[in-house]
Amino acid sequence: MKLLQCPVNGIRPVSEFTYGGEYREMPDPDTCSDKEWAGYVHYRHGAPGLKKEWWYHGPSGTWFIAERNTLTDKVSRTYLYGQENKA
């Protein structure tokens, strides 16, 4: 059972968390093409590497961003969304 650092609640086993998928920038729905939108909805950056991901700490109801290398499973840092620079 992996450990993960919730930026508010500290280090907890991964069983306390829900994985929320990769954080992805939404294209502007008003200006993007259908193809771009379909790609945004369906396609993923599947290759391994350092990714920004959504994680949710269940007991406290906290969403946050984890920067995790999906090859090594090492988390380099976690922070609340929008507070990247405070981390």
């Binding site: 059972m1 450990l3 086993p13 829900t18 729905p29 909805v41 949710y56 969403w63």
Partner: protein, 966 residues
């Protein structure tokens, strides 16, 4: 005859506690503290089992928890490992996998025909003709397998525990003890685990011809056991290494999951057998096994033995055995150069002949083929692995002890991600690069000499403390191994007739590897899979290293180029009951749960909730069908009430509340009036319907939103995420478990409710879709007019602590009206009669609003909502299916079921998603997906039933209630 000898200094048996047990029908005397194998051996019983494939007689091999040929059953348990499981009084044991007893096993004929069963033989035959394979397969399956499973074995739920420490030390041998002490001295909390009943590791059996071993053991043991910072868990093994230093410690009582700050692996090494013909006969065993027998259990391994060795350890073992008055005829050293220092002299002084550069060419079986009568010793050519048959010496003996080298017990290191390298100085794999926070010490680290092992432990302990920031001291220096290698690079003796076993679990001989390579399986992983080496219950503990050496020689490559196979958990086979243990299955109860149960509610799991499906009140004889119809009819004719506390209930509060809901849901909320409700339909980004609930506007900046029961947690979570993402001024509160909800429905519902509240419930004052706050039965309640199950229905939400009170008051007030509780089954029927579909019952993971007749709930003209952009794309495409309401022809023959198919021109056109007989409508009604061209009211379509009949149905307009003629 007994092989038990006089009391040894550190023996583990309690001679004051004799006991008896039965093995294969024979009464055996033993002592408390004996393992099954030691007790049998003491009684001169040496056939402890039959091998997996050839059914050869087998005895002791490792005595270290990988003697998988000595598996027993006591009639309750199976595959009991005789080498390590303590014997208990009155135990009744038989060997597994025999037909007619371990001695007369009928399966032993297979050994005679083994020439017909080359490596991978089962791939090469039995498949032609195809129809014969089931016959052969049945035979093969019955021959395979070890013990029989006991279907009456009781279910065991052992507690599982978590533990936390700074340093976990795996292995309490010299290096582990020393590591634990060092780390503990630096202030770390240490857990020290060892699979033996007593700590000390090889110090407890490898006296190493040194009189000081005993006192060292005593001193280390005392220091460790008395150290406040060290917790010792003996008789337990570390099952595996998992991410972030999680190591399950498997004890008899259950599993402890240890989360450590760092892990020191000091797990030692497994002794490896040299390979020669008939090295598997009962009486041939590893030297360390012989030492364990003598020093722990005071049992002679044999009365007159030879010791074959390919390292210096064999000499020490010979001296140990000799010191215990076990007659050793000769030490046969496969090396030309012999042992270092004065070992050879000491051995000779003990009256033991030394044959240098010699090997056992083969063991001569006793006449019954169940033991050893002699060994044939020949000069050994280390370069060719051949014996020189021209100079044979026959040595009579009844047993052989074998030393050829060691394989590191590095499973945990591999699992942690350690990169290993092959160290020529010790001829074994040693850690090259350890992962962060993982340390290795002792034999597993390639350090063999006792003094250095103690230092290596100290070093690892200090490094661990430094890693944790508990110490800044420099770790001591440890000397790399010098002199003779503890392991021989190729302790294999070729023999034209084979039966020189490499893997005792799977009966794999040297030629099997050669032949596998010839067939192209010359990669270690392929070879493992083709020969099954290391796949047996011992997981290659005594076979993988020799397999690698053989393959290296076949391919003429250095060992490190062959690499090793991965070591997966578990370190030892681990019981399912331990791993499963006490599982936690959380579930939720509504405040009215007790009432439902008392009133005959048949409770069903609905996600994490328990809900009544219907009620079978005591004393009334009803089928479930009748109950459901009666409950539904009560709602239509008078009144019914359902516990809807499982609905998701979320407060959305703040100045951006309406704007937030507009982005989140498909509908419009900015214009919604305070005190009114609207449908809240949620899509995913692909435009698929995820949920539908109701949003009530409590105030300008406050909404109370409900979700489907099964989606409550997900919807709340997604709201939280989008709130962060959108940066809006909104506070969310999840009231799902805080509020009880009940829906009072039916024509009498107004009258009933009016008895408990001052609220004006008349249509004009409280119309459909309206929301009011009032006291109901003295409790502050939130009341809504909803029309999900009935045109007249009130949904009443109260704090859960008052839920039961309000529910009971309403039930009392409704008594004279014929108010009945109804369950989820009746609810399904009622909403069907109303023409309301259920998300994820009538829709599936691909249904969009255009298909589900839900266009009116989608405000495409809004600036944004989740899924909108995808709907814009979907809008341009033809709709492929439509959800419609239908009535089945009245004269149907077989009632279709949900998920029966709609068939059009012989092809699948859709499926029935809901179907039920409605007593109120007096017809069978339902929802179905059909082709768009079939979706108009009045269209008739065909449903194929389970038995293949075609039943006709007709599409109707949405509510079925109008069909009621009565």
């Amino acid at each position: 005859m007994t092989l038990r000898i006089a009391e040894q200094e550190n023996e583990w048996i309690n001679r004051d506690m004799p006991l008896t047990f039965e093995y294969e029908g024979q009464q055996i005397e033993a002592y408390e503290g004996d393992t099954i194998s030691s007790a049998l051996w003491a009684a001169d019983i040496k056939v402890l089992g039959r091998s997996f494939k050839y059914h050869r007689a087998r005895g002791l091999l490792s005595f270290a928890n990988h003697d998988v040929n000595a598996l027993m059953t006591d009639g309750v348990d199976t595959n009991i490992r005789a080498d390590v499981i303590p014997v208990t009084h009155n135990m009744q044991l038989t060997a597994v996998n025999t037909d007619g007893g371990v001695i007369k096993d009928k399966g032993r004929y297979i050994d005679k025909i083994s020439a017909f069963l080359p490596v991978g033989f089962y791939y090469k035959t039995f498949h032609k003709p195809k129809w014969m394979f089931p016959f052969w397969e049945d035979k093969i399956r019955k021959a395979a397998g070890l013990g029989e499973v006991n279907f009456n074995y009781p279910r065991i739920t052992r507690a599982k525990r978590y533990a936390h420490c700074d340093v976990l030390v795996v292995g309490a041998g010299a290096s582990g003890l020393s590591a634990a002490l060092e780390a503990a001295e630096a202030g770390s909390q240490v857990i020290l685990v060892d699979e033996n009943r007593k700590i000390g590791g090889s110090l407890t059996y490898d006296m190493a011809t040194d009189v000081n071993t005993g006192s060292l053991l005593k001193q280390l043991t005392e220091n460790v056991l008395n150290h406040a910072n060290i917790q010792v868990i003996a008789d337990a093994y570390a099952g595996g290494y998992y991410t972030d230093h999680l190591v399950p410690i498997v004890e008899k009582r259950g599993i402890t999951k240890v989360r450590a700050g760092t892990v020191i692996v000091a797990s030692g090494a497994f002794e490896q057998p040299p390979v020669f013909r008939y090295n598997d006969l009962p009486g041939v065993m590893l030297s360390s096994a012989a030492q364990r027998l003598v020093n722990r259990y005071s049992v002679k391994p044999f009365t007159k033995g030879v010791l074959v060795t390919a390292n210096d350890y064999g000499y020490r073992a010979a001296l140990d055995l000799a010191a215990a008055k076990v007659e050793i005829v000769a030490v046969i050293d496969m090396r030309q150069t012999g042992a270092e220092g004065d070992l050879t002299e000491k051995v000779k002084q003990a009256g033991i002949a030394v044959h240098l550069g010699s090997c056992i060419y083969e063991v001569v079986p006793s006449s019954d083929k169940l033991g050893v009568s002699a060994v044939i010793v020949c000069p050994y050519n280390e370069a060719t692995a051949e014996a020189d048959l021209h100079q044979q010496v026959v040595l009579n003996c009844d047993g052989v002890a074998m030393s050829a080298g060691w394989a590191p017990a590095a499973a945990l290191l591999y699992q942690a991600g350690t990169q290993m390298r092959y160290d020529q100085a010790v001829q074994q794999f040693v850690p090259n690069q350890l992962p962060e926070g993982v340390f290795a010490a002792g034999k597993v680290n390639g350090i063999f000499e006792l003094e250095q092992r103690l230092l290596d432990g100290k070093r690892a302990g200090a490094e661990a403390a430094r890693y944790l920031g508990k110490s800044t001291a420099d770790p001591v220096a440890v000397m790399a191994h010098r002199g003779n290698s503890p392991s021989h690079p190729y302790p294999i003796v070729n023999h034209p007739k084979g039966k020189n076993f490499v893997d005792f679990d799977e009966d794999i001989q040297v030629k099997d590897f050669i032949n596998a390579a010839k067939e192209g399986f010359d990669n270690i992983e392929l070879m493992k899979r083709f020969t099954t080496v290391g796949m047996g219950p011992s997981q290659g503990k005594h076979s993988n290293m020799n397999a690698i050496r053989i393959l290296a020689r076949i391919r003429d490559l250095p060992v490190e180029k062959i690499g090793s196979t991965t070591a997966r958990p578990f370190f030892h086979p681990t019981p399912i009951g331990h791993l499963g243990g006490r599982g936690f299955h959380p579930h939720r109860h509504t405040a009215m749960h007790e009432w439902h149960v008392k009133e005959g509610g048949v409770m069903m799991e609905a996600g994490v909730w328990l809900r009544p499906a219907y009620y079978l009140p005591l004393g009334i004889n009803l089928t479930s069908q009748q109950a459901v119809q009666q409950e539904a009819m009560a709602v239509r004719k008078s009144a019914g009430m359902i516990d809807g506390s499982t609905l998701g209930k979320i407060e959305v509060f703040g100045k951006d509340a309406a704007a937030f809901l507009e982005r989140f849901y498909t509908g419009k909320f900015a214009s919604q009036k305070v005190g009114n409700s609207r449908i809240a339909m949620l899509l995913d980004e692909a435009g698929v319907i995820v949920d539908d609930g109701v949003a009530v506007r409590l105030d300008q900046d406050k909404f109370y939103v409900s979700t489907n029961s099964s989606n409550a947690a997900t919807v709340y979570r997604e709201m939280q995420r989008n709130l962060q993402l959108w940066g809006m001024q909104v506070t969310l509160v999840n009231l799902t478990g805080v509020m009880s909800a009940m829906t009072l429905a039916g024509p009498s519902s107004r009258s009933i409710l009016s008895e408990l509240t001052d609220l004006d419930l008349l249509e004009e004052a409280f119309p459909q879709g309206a929301y009011r706050e009032a006291l109901v039965a003295g409790v502050k309640a939130r009341v809504m007019r909803v029309a999900f199950v009935s045109d007249l229905a009130f949904e009443i939400h109260v704090p859960s602590s008052a839920g039961l009170h309000v529910w009971q008051k309403i039930m009392e007030a409704g008594k004279t009206y014929g108010l009945r509780p109804f369950g989820t089954d009746a609810q399904r029927l009622l909403r069907l009669e109303m023409g309301h579909h259920l998300i994820s019952h009538d829709t599936d993971g691909l249904t969009n609003p255009f298909e589900a007749h839900a266009e009116s709930l989608v405000a495409m003209d809004k600036a944004f909502f989740i899924g909108q952009r995808s709907l814009k794309i979907l809008q341009k495409k033809p709709v492929k299916k439509k959800l419609v309401t239908f009535v089945l022809d009245a004269d149907f023959g077989e009632l279709p079921k949900e998920c029966n198919l709609v068939i059009e021109k012989g092809e699948i056109a859709g499926r029935v998603t809901s179907i039920s007989f409605s007593e109120y409508v007096n017809r069978v009604i339902g929802f179905a997906f059909v082709l768009p061209e079939q979706a108009k009211a009045g269209h008739r379509f065909a449903i194929r039933t389970d038995s293949g009949r075609i039943e006709m149905a007709e599409v109707v307009e949405h509510s079925f209630l109008s069909l009621n003629q009565g």
